[in-house]
């Protein structure tokens, strides 16, 4: 039962990879490109998320 479920889960996730690949290709061709300063506006909040996760790990240790 467990192995059967793992194989089905892997197959469905493989299907998700296929859908993500199509979305990625579509985005590369038609999606908007980053302007100057766009990535900086993303890196700061993501760095804060990393800091929060480190803090949470320290809290449960």
């Amino acid at each position: 039962m467990d192995m059967f479920l793992k194989i089905v889960a892997a197959a469905v996730m493989g299907m998700m990879v296929f859908y993500a690949w199509r979305a990625f290709q579509n985005w590369q061709e038609h999606g908007p490109k980053a302007q100057k300063g766009d990535w900086q506006a993303v890196v700061l909040p993501l760095a804060l998320v990393v800091g929060l996760v480190v803090l949470l790990v320290a809290m449960v240790r």
Binding site: L5, A9, A10, M13, Y19, A20, P45, V49, V57, V60
Partner: protein, 222 residues
Amino acid sequence: MANPNYTIAGGAQRAVETNKVLKNTYMLLSATLVFSALMAGLSMALAVPSWMYLVAVIGAMLLGIFVLPRSANSGSGVGVIFLITGLLGFGLGAILTLYLAMPNGPQIIGTAFGGTGIIFLGLSGYALTSKRDFSFMGGFLFAGIMVVFIAAIANIFLAMPALALAVSGAIILLMSGFILYDTSRIINGGETNYIMATYGLYLSIFNIFISLLQILGIMGDD
């Protein structure tokens, strides 16, 4: 030359539509989160086995791929999203039962819950107040999802804690990016269907919570 009155009226109408999508999205998101929590409680009360989590995730993924996109523009889409989130909540209950059996399980669950709330509210607030268009991240996020899925498929069979930790960390960062991306698409008019918008945000919250549980469970254990 364009009539400025039409331009102003068009801009105001777009703003009203955007606010309506945003309001409907957050209302449906709240309802699905509550329903999900109720289903998780039911699953814990019934003490369902842990394999139920995989069954629920497989069912929810299939519904999300094949059924939701076809029904999202009709009233039945609301029923489908409740079915998906209820299934995921029911599966989550099986995982929470396992964590509650650990010595510091309740603390880990509470910390993961609080952390997920802070991440979601913080990033949503940032996207809403900055009014930046984060749709340029689409290619990067979908490429990242592909890599993470391939690693996750490998780890279904390898069951390596270090790889699970790396995948969970990557999922938290990617889903944080998706919160910025989805929220900015709603406020910039890129997403006009509140059911699909809710689905995207719900998946981000669910994945962040599950990944935080995994990271805290591995790192909190001596």
